[in-house]
């Protein structure tokens, strides 16, 4: 068991936590989302927000905010058909991939890690990413859960470190980077129940991934 402290919290208007925090504070949503996304309750107690689930200072609310965004950003949000756009089915994909969702301190190395059938989220995920960024992390990790590892090294121009492992070879590889970027792109282009400023955050994040996370640039500018 590790001990950690809530770090300085960025302005919740600018991270989207004010906007989405009000929405997740709905018992019907919490009752559904908790088992649907397989939150392992034992790992969300002891300060992580189980007993204060509307408190957007804490990891549980910050994770539920990302889950709300995943579920309700399509205009026709009840339509989760696999044949529809990623904006529609991403919530379902994450739901059906995550086996056991845990909140932990972490040692600062990772913000999230997929291992042995469960997804661990660490402080960096809750406090250094905005709400769309957290949704992207859930998509990215879920893709790993689906058995697709990274298959390439970062290209010479990459901000992630030229020659380091962890890149996807191409967009067509349909790896974790593509899943995360594609979701952010759809959210930017057609996401609703959000604000232009939050959609813009998603656009820049998706573009950074497109520019830097593939051994062969996918060729897109958003």
């Amino acid at each position: 068991m590790a001990n950690c402290t809530v770090p300085d919290i960025a302005d919740k208007n600018t991270t989207g936590d004010s906007l989405y925090g009000g929405r997740i504070c709905d018992q019907t949503f919490v009752d559904w989302a908790w088992p649907a996304y397989k939150f392992n309750s034992e790992y969300w107690k002891h300060g992580f927000g189980f007993d204060d689930v509307c408190n957007t200072d804490l990891p549980a609310a910050r994770t539920l905010a990302a889950i709300w965004l995943l579920n309700y950003s399509a205009e026709d949000y009840m339509n989760e058909d696999w044949n529809n756009s990623c904006l529609h089915w991403a919530c379902r994909y994450v739901r059906e991939q995550v086996g056991d969702l845990r909140s932990m301190c972490g040692d600062g190395t990772y913000i999230a890690y997929t291992t042995g059938g469960h997804i661990e989220l660490y402080l960096g995920c809750f406090y250094s990413k905005d709400v769309p960024g957290r949704a992207e992390t859930l998509m990215h990790e879920s893709r790993h859960q689906g058995g697709k590892p990274h298959d390439a090294t970062f290209p010479s121009w990459s901000g992630f470190g030229a020659g380091k492992t962890g890149a996807d070879s191409t967009w067509d590889y349909e790896g974790a980077w593509m899943y995360g970027a594609l979701y952010l792109w759809w959210f930017y282009a057609e996401g609703v129940r959000t604000t232009p400023a939050i959609r813009e955050l998603a656009r820049q994040r998706a573009q950074y991934v497109i520019d830097n996370a593939f051994a062969t640039h996918p060729g897109y500018v958003i």
Partner: protein, 241 residues
């Protein structure tokens, strides 16, 4: 006997106030930031009002934005990005000195232990990409100062900043004239920058069949998600009120 604790322990602490101080336009800036990120039924009204406020007295607002940016902790990426976003809504060319100081500032070395998971270079670059895109909007109107600033951004060591600057220049009225010069500024192996296309997400390659990529033996969750509304708690779930 108490059950042993499973999982880690997280302690709370108080966060310092933001945009503190006696800046002339700090309160108006804070209002504008709230408006830019506001939700709810009057979101569009508040957004439009925020944009109007930012443009009402651009010179003083830029002073407030630059001061707030300077006071921001380096690691408060969301706030820094929001301040650049606020500056990008200011149509007056007086926003350019601030935007260029952000875009051209050196990116600090990677501080994250595992950049694949979270990268400080990524966060820093994203802030600068927004600044470059904003400069590009001024350049698209043919503003020479903006075009000159983008040319300086082309020489940035960060690929995404270079790419954003080239995209902006190629969308400016000077595109044809500048192309040969840009080709000399971009390393040969990165000339694919000139082939990158602004596309709609609908025209991008999609996931062919997401069901191919589900973990073996996954169990679909059968309960349909609730429609957007409030209701009463169930016994064994965390309480929302």
């Amino acid at each position: 006997m108490d059950r042993p604790q499973v999982g880690d322990q997280l302690q709370k602490r108080e966060s310092p106030p933001r945009l503190a101080g006696a800046l002339t336009h700090a309160a108006r800036l804070q209002d504008a930031l709230s408006g830019l990120f506001a939700g709810g039924e009057d979101a569009q009204f508040r957004y439009d009002q925020a944009v109007d406020n930012l443009n009402r007295d651009p010179e003083h607002m830029m002073v407030a934005i630059a001061a707030a940016y300077g006071h921001c902790p380096v690691t408060d990426y969301p706030q820094r990005h929001a301040l650049v976003a606020a500056a990008s809504h200011i149509t007056d060319e007086g926003a350019l000195p601030f935007l260029s100081s952000v875009a051209l500032s050196e990116i600090p070395p990677e501080a994250a232990k595992d950049p694949h998971s979270f990268s400080t270079v990524a966060e820093e670059t994203i802030i600068r990409m927004s600044a470059v895109d904003s400069i590009a909007r001024h350049a698209s109107r043919g503003l020479q100062l903006a075009i000159d600033l983008l040319l300086r951004c082309v020489e940035s060591p960060a690929f995404s900043i270079r790419r954003a600057a080239v995209t902006g220049l190629m969308a400016s009225p000077e595109a044809q004239r500048l192309r040969p010069r840009l080709e000399t500024l971009i390393p040969k192996e990165q000339h694919f920058i000139f082939d990158l296309k602004k596309v709609s997400v609908r025209d991008a390659i999609q996931v062919k069949d997401p069901t191919r990529h589900l973990a073996e033996g996954y169990e679909p969750f059968r309960e349909q998600k609730p429609r957007i509304r409030g209701s009463e708690p169930k016994g064994d779930r965390p309480k929302a009120k």
